[in-house]
Symmetry: C2
Subunit: 587 residues, 2 copies
């Protein structure tokens, strides 16, 4: 019998995703842990935690024995394994088998432009790519550009067999899995072993690959899970019976694609919490409603666009959605009209907000009420909850001027958000010069512009590159867009700077109207004066000088506003814009 000290099991006990994976199977082996509904066929796959865990072990064997995948060590990532997959049980198996055997998971964002998908696969040097049947057309499309990099493609489908394809080296996931042993001796890796590689969406130049270790993902997860210990429950939530935590009995549906920055952490949080995880493949309104009803989904986060789609779904009243007691709506300004409708249909929905980016894994800022606000009314609390939020405990977050000094907490002065902490990426994969652009003076520079109020709440105002330089001042465009979106008559709003001989730049607003609503360009300015200038949220000189009412607001492939296109085709947009400079603009 060996004795002595065991730092590897005490002081240096490694923080590994393996610990998350092992918890539900040890507590609830025979309970259903993972439910997947194929969004094309509507068919269900249901797995107990024991079944899911055994499949994950089989996958690790497949990687090791079948494909010779090599694990990494601190400073030297293991082989990269790409996934081109939707939110399925197989993707959740990959989320654990790959990093827990020591290799690097690279969830490929299949909604990027094809040239960016090609770039990330080649830049990551993906040895194997796992691909959902639904994503095969994309693979066919880009195959010639990645076939020299990728050794093997693994086809994931609910149907047996392989499709007709020109893709060589395509093998079947289920067929290979079935041949593997279903127990795996998971190694005690060093916690600094690389676990994932997540590429940015590449809105400026080529995507950058942010790297994360087991330790970083473990600590992000744990800090998010500690939030209920510090989040203050508003009294009206307690009164409404939605104040109690659901714990392991929460039934979360994962709507955020798992190829978007770790699915915002859900695959880690929900597995460690041993909650039944509901996977919808890709979002459809019908799939959403069916899954909520059949699986008694309790918790889901949706963006305003999805909320609008739900409200307009004609069959909505055919479903029992009463299990949904925790609905967060965030990710954008919630138009007043939509909010009123939502409150009628779903009394338990709550507005929420937050901030994160690929490089921060992503969770860094979340909205919650401070301790003296719990007795406030719902409207007042909603005003707090739409602010971007407060830093997560354990992170250092500052909003700084160009010299690196924190800006005053006056709810007006803007600065750049800088962050450091246990789960901020240390570097981009194979790109030291791009790392040096963002890590300066011991802080990660986000390139996002924000202001801070007296209570410490941070509100995102803009991307650094989009901010409008008007005279000596900065006009934050996202702030203006969110304000305009609050108007009852507005569907979407984009604000962009256009050249001006006097001011350098001046703000142009492109505004689309909600169906059935009418409004003029001047109505937009009037709304901004009443709800922005008069309330102190913006100053007069921030008001747009040009407004165009139009249905033509250009977007990128991932649905973000494409301001670059407006700048490139400026004449077209200037031609439809109306000059609204007037007495209101004088300072």
């Amino acid at each position: 019998m060996e004795s002595g000290t065991y730092p590897e099991f005490s002081t240096h006990y490694p923080l590994l995703l393996t610990t998350f994976m092992k918890r539900p199977v040890s507590l609830y082996p025979q309970q259903i842990g993972v439910v997947y509904r194929n969004h094309v066929t509507g068919e269900y796959s249901r797995f107990t935690w024991d079944q899911w865990y055994r499949r994950t072990a089989q996958l690790a064997h497949m990687l090791q024995s079948q494909f010779g995948v090599k694990p990494g060590r601190p400073g030297a990532p293991g082989d990269r394994i790409g996934t081109m997959a939707l939110n399925t049980h197989r993707h959740l198996e990959l989320y654990y088998a790959v990093p827990c055997m020591g290799a690097t998971l690279h969830p490929i964002n299949v909604r990027l432009a094809p040239e960016h998908v090609i770039y990330t696969i080649n830049h990551a040097q993906d040895k194997i790519v796992f691909i959902d049947d639904a994503v095969m057309p994309l693979l066919e499309n880009i195959y010639d550009h990645i076939k020299d990099t990728v050794e093997m493609f693994v086809y994931m489908s609910d149907r047996p067999g392989l499709p007709e394809t020109r893709v060589k080296n395509l093998v079947s996931y289920e067929a290979l899995l079935a041949q593997q042993p279903d127990q795996y001796d998971w190694p005690y890796l060093h916690e600094d072993t690389n676990a994932t590689l997540c590429y940015t969406t590449g809105t400026t130049g080529q995507p950058k690959g942010a790297m994360f270790t087991h330790r970083q993902l473990y600590l992000m997860t744990l800090h998010v899970m500690a939030m209920p210990s510090v989040v203050n429950t508003p009294q009206h939530d307690i009164d409404a019976g939605v104040g109690a935590r659901l714990g392991e009995n929460a039934v979360p549906m994962l709507n955020t694609p798992m190829f978007h920055i770790h699915g915002w952490g859900a695959p880690f949080i929900n597995v460690f919490s041993a909650q039944k995880i509901v996977l919808p493949g890709s979002f459809t309104v019908q799939g959403f409603c069916e899954l909520v009803e059949r699986e008694k989904v309790t918790s889901v986060g949706i963006v305003p666009t999805v909320a609008a789609m739900l409200l307009e779904y004609p069959d909505l009243d055919k479903y029992d959605l009463s299990s949904l007691t925790r609905i967060g709506v965030g990710g954008g300004a919630l138009p007043l009209g939509l909010k009123t409708k939502l409150e009628q249909l779903m009394p338990n929905f709550r507005v929420s907000s937050g901030y994160g980016m690929t490089e921060t894994a992503p969770t860094t800022i979340m909205s919650f009420v401070k301790k003296h606000m719990v007795d406030w009314g719902r409207e007042q609390i909603d005003e707090i909850m739409v602010k971007t939020g407060l830093p997560l405990p354990g992170l250092e977050v500052r909003v700084v001027d160009p010299d690196g000094n924190p800006v005053p907490q006056d709810d007006r002065t803007v600065g750049e958000i800088v962050i450091r902490g246990p789960w901020v990426t240390e570097q981009y994969f194979r790109a030291p010069e791009r790392t040096a652009e963002v890590w300066r003076d011991g802080w990660f520079h986000t390139g996002d512009i924000a202001k801070v109020d007296a209570e410490g709440y941070i509100v995102i105002a803009d991307r650094l590159k989009d901010v409008i330089r008007s005279g000596a001042e900065m006009v934050p465009t996202v702030l203006l867009e969110n304000l305009i979106s609050m108007a009852d008559f507005v569907l979407e709003a984009m604000v962009v700077g256009v050249p001006d001989p006097v001011w350098g730049e001046k703000p142009l607003a492109l505004v689309s109207l909600r169906p059935g609503h009418e409004a003029s360009e001047q109505d937009v300015i009037d709304f901004l004066i009443r709800h922005g200038v008069d309330t102190g949220k913006i100053t007069k000189w921030m008001l747009p000088r040009l407004v165009a009412i139009t249905r033509d607001i250009p977007k990128t492939s991932v649905g973000k506003y494409n301001k670059k296109q407006v700048r490139e085709q400026l004449d077209r947009f200037l031609a439809i814009a109306k000059d609204v400079s007037g007495p209101a603009h004088s300072q």
Copy 2:
């Protein structure tokens, strides 16, 4: 401007107690954070978080400039700073200033026997000792034995000046503090820097000093704070309105002495959670009631003895205790009579259980209901909640036979609890041979005996050294004691093994009766048969063969049963015991 990678602010961002200390002052600088009531004078001291933080900074300056205290580094602890202090704001200042400047906090258990107090101070080589005025008599008593070790004594009192004493090198905390700058440049220490040194109570031999790093204490705290994300709230708690988390609005009172294994983690959890912390000095019934009423205390954990004292306090109905919505009663079996009374007076009290020891910092096992139990009735849930509990997420806990194999989950077979994980002590201070006794084959051996039920709940049965070897079987004494304590007529019960020519050892039970109750030795056996044997909790051969009804149950200085004394003075106890061997005992 320096750029590049900053692993010290990303991959290796240090997990430090400093992060906990900085959070409340950044969020709530002007709110009251720390309230201390002097249990002798009844006087109150109230501090905003800003005031408490500034005092802590002043204390760090005092340590560094005044006393030349040296910080440590991984593998080489800094100077040890002893505290002989009750639960005061000054003790909470020491809890942060000492480790956050890099030195080692040694909270001295002033309830140990004086020779053990002397031993720990000399063994720790405490450079400075901070002492409360109320503890001066103990210092006077032991002074000659420690004066060559300790360079300086710092006197902490609400009154100015110093007492008449033969203690040399005694200086005033408040006088020195007032001279220091109130901002301190807290270093980014290495997370493996030693933070605390906690001695065991020394029930076998001299106390042993368990060492903990910043990382270990940070991770214990964070895992405990993540518990609300996985704890399932029973439906009857939701119905009773006690299901919602209080978050930062909880007002905890720290009843556990801060010299007991980090006050069970409260000084870390409650500061990081920015909750108003109520410190009662030392426990008194009047102080308890007054603090609950004045400070609107919401959350407190008490042991059955304290519960009994409260119920018998004649002035109890003069106080408004309605703020107390989270009362946990644990740390021993709750007699049925006491439970009924508590339910009448405090409908929100909940029984709870848990396990930890000095070497585990201490939290390792906590009772909570599994997900399929939330709809159970209160009685059934209470039966779960008095089981010792389930391992905390993030820890590996096993109950093993002598060969190291897990025992079957049959609620009957006992084995030793072994643990490993991020916050188990790696080694005892200056005692490699004692470390080697407990760390074997990669597991920390607790010396505690337990059984496991089919749901995975662990129930402590005994200390390894106290377990009775009867024939080929092990009789777990703590299990028997807890069972006997459930009898309405029982106040306390101790079970100890005495020599027997046939069986090797046989169980002797010493039982004291509650005032106003009568019972015979046979009544004890009858109760055990009805509530133990017939319910499957024990087997017949575990029944005591000797029972003594007595008020003379020997205890140690810290109130634990002193089984050693019974073994040493066996004749005295055998003389009053009655032989209850009978047909019930036959197998």
